[in-house]
């Protein structure tokens, strides 16, 4: 399977009753890439997915192209997409093999060929022992694997996944995420993946589209999004973030509550850094503060620090030294600092 590019041009969606789910967006999905739509509920990510799938039509003027085909007016059943739903949407009147074979049967594939393809798909998803099982006899993780096999069986041009892991518990989610990742890497299929879970987005996405209020807030690789968030919303939505209000600029440094930060650009009013990019030092730290509490989290210890002016910092420290509430500590910035528009 080689990937197909997807292009959205001025796609907007207004629902009956006038609520705007999506402001006009342009988007290019590269062939074979996994693009993750990330955002809180109601941000328009599922609507965008449904537009691409053909389950919704864009408002007048919007176009959707698969490769060079304009599919805007093509119904979903003729678009050649594979889709995986949060609720699995398996047909309980068919067994596992029957579900996987459904799309092939609809397309009129001869029986023998169908059987081979089904067996192949079941093996790919480690489901070969479950072919004759009823859907009701499967666990959630198995059901979602059947759904994946079913979506991929007819070799779709594009795979669409709508929060496929949201209904599973944490451990299964992790396991299936690895499976999906392996699948997407080996198949090189263009995949759109919708989720509200940032860890999932980071792990699976070649690129991530962060959405907010029916608009695209940022598109970029996971590293881009994490290290160089385009705005406060993206920064706040992904990971924990420490915010510093700049009080003054002075000789290549910015004065903030609790100390100084190295920063040249005098126009910055808010500086940010991630908790893991702060380090507790014995002396000569750029920042000083008072410990409010500390929480052991396994790989690191999260320390909550008061730096004055009503500002608090999160510091993820690698050491496991015991600190008491009220201890004075000093900190240095070890990772990227970035400015945000206030």
């Amino acid at each position: 399977m080689t990937g197909t590019a997807i292009r959205l041009r001025q796609c907007a969606k207004t629902f009956q009753g006038g609520q705007t789910a999506l402001s006009p967006i342009d988007l290019d999905v590269r062939p074979g890439e996994t693009l993750v739509f990330l955002g809180p509920s109601g941000c328009g990510k599922t609507t965008t997915l449904r537009l691409i799938a053909g389950l919704e039509t864009p408002d007048a003027g919007g176009r959707i192209l698969f490769g060079d085909d304009d599919v805007t007016d093509v119904p979903i059943e003729k678009r050649g997409v594979g889709m995986v739903f949060q609720s699995y949407a398996l047909f309980s009147n068919l067994d596992v093999a029957g579900n996987v074979a459904y799309g092939l049967k609809v397309r009129g594939m001869p029986k023998a060929e169908r059987a081979t393809r089904v067996a192949e798909m079941l093996e790919l998803m480690h489901l070969q022992d479950f072919a004759d099982r009823s859907i009701h006899a499967l666990s959630g993780g198995q059901r979602q694997r059947v759904a994946l096999a079913r979506a991929l069986a007819a070799r779709p041009r594009i795979l669409l996944l709508d929060e496929p892991l949201a209904a599973l518990d944490a451990q299964l989610r992790e396991q299936l995420r690895v499976d999906i990742d392996r699948l997407l890497r080996t198949l090189h299929i263009t995949a759109i993946y919708v989720t509200h879970d940032q860890a999932e987005a980071m792990a699976l996405g070649d690129r991530i589209v962060v959405m907010e209020n029916g608009r695209i807030a940022q598109i970029g690789t996971p590293q881009d999004i994490y290290q160089r968030p385009a705005n406060a919303f993206v920064a706040g939505f992904i990971g924990n973030l420490n915010r510093f209000d700049v009080l003054a600029h002075e000789q290549g440094r910015a004065r903030v509550a609790g100390g100084w930060l190295p920063w040249n650009d005098t126009s910055a009013t808010v500086l940010c850094c991630r908790p893991e990019h702060l380090e507790i030092v014995h002396a000569n730290g750029a920042l000083q503060g008072q410990v409010l509490g500390q929480f052991f989290q396994g790989a690191h210890t999260r320390v909550l620090v008061d730096i004055g002016n009503g500002r608090q910092l999160l510091v993820d420290s690698r050491d496991d030294r015991l600190r008491q509430r009220g201890d004075l500590i000093e900190m240095n910035v070890t990772g990227p600092l970035f400015a945000l528009a206030a």
């Binding site: 705007t20 328009g44 609507t47 919704e56 039509t57 209020n213 608009r215």
Partner: protein, 287 residues
């Protein structure tokens, strides 16, 4: 990027483009049948009610100005309301009991009490005759005991019993279903706060069952208003509206008045259903 999108949760309309055709094709047969065989005839019935009968008075006017018809209607409403109330109390107690207690033979008991659910009115009438008719069980028992023959089947009380008979199974089922969904922690909370047994029943159980009681009561009422079969079997001397309509139509061929009476009965029934729905909140009538 200026026009701000609203952040309301998106409730996607599924397969929107295909909806019109698919919906039209699938819904059309039902709508055609309903329109041709129900709405149209009903409209005709309503118009006919305004026609003049043999005395030259419009049907509706005849009905409204006739003390006999109005009294019959009043009696029908009273009987239906009485049946509904009695059914709710009886089935409420029995239903709660069956839903709350596990004991040997419980499911058999439930099955036995609810299978006459769909008995037709005529059969129910006949069963009441077997209980309280001239050769009925009560007649023979009372003759043996006191020498009097208790015959109540052919009276309003017989009709009341008949309505009770076909209403009880339905309400028991609804009450049991509602009872099982009641939050038991509410009762436990009330007990822990010192409520007496009756206090719990009054303040927790009855309010919790209210929507189910109202909706099944409404169905009870509607059925009792139109139950012609039972009244027909028990005897046409009863002065309830269904019988009156039947008489007017068949024996006197007075179509305008029969139509007017039917419409009036329908309207009263419908009003009560609407009232119940209003009391029970939206969509709770679809039990």
């Amino acid at each position: 990027m200026s026009d701000l999108a609203m952040t309301l949760p998106v409730r996607p309309t599924p397969l929107r483009r295909r909806v019109p055709l698919a919906i039209v094709v699938t819904l059309a047969p039902a709508l055609i049948v309903l329109t041709a065989f129900w709405l149209l005839p009903l409209a005709q019935l309503i118009t006919l009610g305004a026609d003049a009968d043999r005395s030259g008075t419009p049907g509706y006017l005849v009905v409204v100005s006739s003390p006999a018809y109005m009294q019959g209607l009043l009696q029908t409403v009273a009987l239906a309301a009485g049946t509904t109330l009695a059914t709710l109390v009886i089935a409420g107690i029995a239903g709660c009991f069956l839903a709350r207690h596990a004991f040997a033979g419980r499911s058999l008991l439930v099955a036995l009490m609810t299978f006459p659910l769909a008995f037709p009115g005529v059969v129910v009438g006949f069963l009441i005759i077997l209980l309280g008719g001239r050769q009925g069980l009560f007649a023979s028992i009372s003759t043996a005991l006191t020498g009097d023959r208790w015959i109540f089947a052919y009276s309003l009380f017989g009709l009341f019993l008949g309505y009770l008979y076909f209403s009880i199974p339905r309400v028991i089922l609804t009450v049991m279903a509602a009872c099982e969904t009641l939050d038991r922690s509410l009762e436990e909370a009330a007990r822990s706060l010192g409520a007496s047994h009756w206090g719990v029943v009054r303040d927790v159980i009855v309010p919790g069952l209210m929507p189910a009681l109202i909706s099944s009561g409404a169905i009870c009422f509607a059925t009792a208003m139109g139950a012609f079969g039972t009244a027909f079997t028990l005897g046409t001397r009863l002065s309830v509206t269904p019988i009156a309509i039947y008489d007017t139509f068949t024996n006197f061929a007075n179509f305008a008045v029969a139509a007017a009476l039917s419409v009036l009965l329908g309207v009263v029934t419908w009003l009560v259903l609407m009232l119940a729905r209003y009391l029970a909140g939206p969509r709770s009538l679809s039990t």
